[in-house]
Symmetry: C2
Subunit: 99 residues, 2 copies
């Protein structure tokens, strides 16, 4: 499981490249973002990475969740995105049927 | 396909309720957000709706994409989230194997 910490100053394209690389290598990706600006960059990165992976036949999806974390001794709520290849409905190997 | 427009002032819990209701009714949901604050509220809503749906055996996932829209005559880039039930790997009906 690769964990990427994204901030409001992260480049979505760079994060997208990292996501695509890990997904291609079969590594599940977790992205952590704290604050609206960071969450926005993370979502843009996921959307951009779809464009890198879709042409090679990999569709991805994400599952957002909350996580309580401590930054500099303060409790904050982070958003975590689990990004995974998308397995398509009714097929074991991601065949033709789109869910 | 139900389309929800989320702003930075939308209540994530209310949007989450709407998402959960539509998913329960078998309706695919699309959420549109413009700007970091709106994207953040949309992501929070999706995370909260997971908590409404998970206890009744429905797992969801989302796929973000960009959309060019026109607001008051100006071109803006929106983020759209397709929210759907998550079909689990290797099973046609969402069985035991988690992807």
């Amino acid at each position: 499981m690769g964990c990427l910490k994204v901030s409001s100053k992260s480049s979505p394209a760079s994060v997208a490249g990292a996501i695509a690389g890990m997904i291609k290598d079969g590594v599940a990706v977790e992205i952590q973002a704290v604050g609206a600006g960071a969450v926005n960059q993370a979502v843009k990165a996921i959307a951009i990475s779809r464009g890198f992976l879709s042409p090679i036949g990999i569709e991805i999806m994400c599952v957002p969740s909350f996580a309580d974390i401590v930054i500099d001794g303060e409790y904050r709520t982070a958003i975590r995105f689990a990004v995974e290849p998308r397995y398509l409905r009714g097929t074991a190997d991601g065949g033709e049927t789109r869910s």
